[in-house]
């Protein structure tokens, strides 16, 4: 087990995946899953700041009730750009394609993903898709929102929707190929002894996510093709003029896009399971139940899409059925949350940067999750649908959940990815700033929604009393922006100035910490991997106390006695 000597000076190994080849071609043609993860990290971060810029302009516009800064058309294009970039090019690929690509093969003891070339192709499809979508923004923008509801997107809008949809189609195949790769890898590439119930939860989460991707993404891909055909060739599948059904588009869109919110949150939940166990120095409570709840969320997630159409021509019976199914998803989500909390209970929690993100995640996910049943219950949704309550709800899950999970995981695996430690002070500070800024940004939106402010409006001169909440939200957004910019600086600085991390700076269990160097070798392992230990075997680590001391935690009572 990890008997690393604490306080020892570490050195970066001479040869690792980052310096094994310095040419640009060695990066752009790489088949190494770790290098592809780094490529994804760069491109995903870029898209995050593009989407963030659009969000900043949206918040700026809403500080005034009269909508003085932009016209309605410009505002429509801004929030559409924000939604499209953030959903399809940041949150969906962020955790699986960056952290999953990097850690998943190492965690199961494989030398690479099953199909390295396919993995590289995924990244290229992502980049080409992103470039096409950005081009469509430059050529005039898209004003139908990230949901592209027909007949607005198919008949009435005369913006660059067709081009944008081509980009999204390619990005969809990027994520399908990643999903196929992960499924084959988890099924067939596990090291001897790595049984299904020894898999780390991050692997379970990515596996369940891949199942959703493989089953759901093709449906939305073909739906978007139908919209393109309707715009360009005047086919008429969703056209109400011909007796077609525009709501059918919504059903097909949400058949993917509701499970897609589980594509976004499940990998982040997997990250949280890893982190909460490591920094509580305790085995994850209820391993099997957490694994089953992951699969249950993925399965039930496919049966709830109708709750987006409670008020678009669905019958009451349909509404009730979808409502009940929606409320059922709360059960596995709650199982996870209880298990994380119980893992911390009587554990010895160390407040490192990743752990602060974990605590932020749990709190915000709780708020975001518990406002879900409000929207899932038909009677309540009558009043709340289409308001800022919905906006606040899904931002608590997507930003407060998925992005917190991504940042937590990034800070956790950063020493493994690049071999150096970042500044713990700046790390903890940024985590706090993000948490505070987030609450200031999105909590007022719950109130706004409750007061009835509709989403996607760019003025509210008819209700100037909403201005104070909007200003609070915009002020919070600027704090949040600072919180997101800080890691760019201190993480980049750590690449040059950071202390060498050594193979296992957190004293964590798992193959990636105990069997590889930091950064890992191109082929990951120097030895043949045979797994004998159970997962999260923190109880067996003898130097828990030293790790806790190293990261600023107090020794526990019983430990003081043994000193």
């Amino acid at each position: 087990m990890s008997q690393a000597v604490i306080g020892q000076r570490h050195e970066i190994p001479d040869l690792h995946y980052l310096n094994n080849g310095h040419t640009i071609a060695s990066w752009l043609l790489t088949k190494d899953h770790k290098r592809i993860a780094v490529l994804y990290l760069i491109s995903v971060s870029f898209m995050f700041f593009v989407g963030g810029l659009a969000a900043a302009l949206v918040r700026l516009e809403l500080t005034s009730p009269h909508g003085q800064l932009f016209t309605s058309e410009q505002y429509n294009k801004l929030f559409s750009a924000h939604g499209i970039v953030m959903v399809f090019f940041f949150i969906i690929p962020a955790v699986p394609a960056v952290l999953g690509n990097f850690a998943l093969p190492i965690m199961i003891g494989a030398k690479d993903l099953a199909f390295p070339r396919l993995n590289l192709l995924s990244w290229y499809l992502y980049v080409v898709g992103a470039l096409i979508v950005l081009t469509s923004f430059i050529l005039g923008g898209v004003d139908a929102g990230w949901t592209f509801y027909t007949p607005l997107s198919s008949i009435y809008s005369n913006t660059q929707i067709s081009l944008c949809l081509v980009g999204l189609f390619l990005a969809g195949f990027s994520s399908i190929f990643t999903g196929v790769n992960f499924i084959a890898t988890v099924h067939k590439m596990r090291a001897p002894g790595m049984t299904w119930f020894k898999l780390p939860h991050f692997v379970w989460a990515n596996y369940a996510t891949s199942l959703i991707i493989v089953l759901g993404t093709p449906v939305v891909a073909i739906t978007l093709v139908l919209v393109i055909l309707e715009r360009t060739l005047k086919f008429g599948i969703f056209s109400p003029e011909l007796g077609g059904d525009p709501v059918l588009f919504q059903h097909m869109f949400w058949f993917y896009s509701h499970p897609a919110v589980y594509i976004m949150i499940l990998p982040a939940m997997g990250v949280i399971s890893e982190l909460v166990s490591c920094f509580s120095r305790r085995r994850l409570f209820g391993y099997e139940m957490v694994a089953f709840s992951t699969v249950a969320i993925a399965a039930i997630g496919f049966l709830v899409w109708g709750h987006h159409m409670f008020f678009s021509s669905q019958s009451v019976l349909q509404g009730i059925i979808f409502s009940l199914l929606t409320l059922i998803v709360a059960v596995p989500s709650a199982i996870k949350t209880f298990n994380w909390v119980l893992t911390m209970y009587k554990g010895s929690v160390v407040f490192t940067t990743p752990m602060i993100y974990v605590l932020g995640f749990i709190g915000l996910f709780l708020v975001g999750g518990l406002t879900g049943p409000y929207l899932g219950a038909v009677a309540c949704d009558v009043h709340l649908t289409g308001t800022y309550f919905v906006v606040a709800h899904f931002h608590f899950i997507m930003v407060g959940g998925a992005i917190m999970g991504f940042l937590g995981g990034l800070h956790f695996w950063w020493p493994k990815m690049f071999g150096r430690m970042y500044s713990e002070f700046w790390g903890r500070l940024s985590a706090l700033v993000v948490f505070i800024g987030f609450n200031f940004t999105f909590f007022p939106q719950f109130i706004l929604g409750y007061l009835g402010m509709p989403r996607r409006y760019h003025y509210y001169y008819f209700a100037p009393e909403w201005q104070i909440y909007n200003i609070l939200s915009s002020a919070g957004a600027s704090v949040l922006a600072i919180g997101y910019l800080m890691p760019v600086f201190y993480l980049t600085a750590s690449l040059i100035k950071g202390k060498p991390a050594g193979p296992n700076p957190w004293g964590a269990t798992g193959l990636e910490w105990n069997k590889t160097s930091s950064p890992p070798d191109t082929h990951n392992f120097h030895e043949k991997i045979v797994v004998t230990e159970p997962p999260y075997n923190y109880d067996a680590i003898s130097d828990n106390r030293d790790y806790r001391k190293m990261w600023g935690g107090e020794p526990l009572e019983w430990e003081k006695e043994t000193v």
Partner: protein, 228 residues
Amino acid sequence: MAAHGAAIDPNEPVVYEQYETIEQQQETYLVGMWSFLVTEVMMFGALFLVYSLYRWKFRGEFFMFHEELSWQWGGLNTMNLLFSSFLMAKAVQATQLKRAKAQMWYLAGTIVCAFIFLIIKAIEWIPKFEHHLVPTASFHWPPHEPHGSGGGSPEHAKIFYSLYFTMTGLHGLHVVIGIIAITILMVMTKLKAKAITDYIPTEMVGLYWHFVDLVWIFLYPLFYLIPR
């Protein structure tokens, strides 16, 4: 591991470096291919869903619209594709038995069938452009010289033909991709490329081709054989 350092035996399949054994590699490729086919099933599945909904909504009229489609040409193409699937199955078998020449002949036969399919498709499609049955802006119903009754509303007819061209078009695209895949497979096998050292590439192309065939098995009755 076997491939590292030691001289490569040309008769033994290459194990890529991420795998431990050839069995693991072969099984992984098949798992990956089946996962991809699940994706394809869902993609066509969405279109079949749309078809079912509109067929149910306009059930009386769909029978009149389909009369412009020729069940004879469609039936010929069905038999043609079934035969190509048989050839493909024989090609996979020949590869497993390491009968290189037979493999090539069977693959070539499959490609010929695929081209015959596309030619028949063109014979069906091209007159529809002339008769304004392609659901673009110039769509016109009833046709000038209808094969059937020509009844039903023009709007619903446009939905039917939108579905027809989308679904058979997507299927035709898959046939084209299949032709490209088989051609690449044949060229690389002929050149003894490093990527092809066992039967798995042929098996994967075969799985794909059977899937393409299977989609048509559903498309044919749904569009051409609706009872009057």
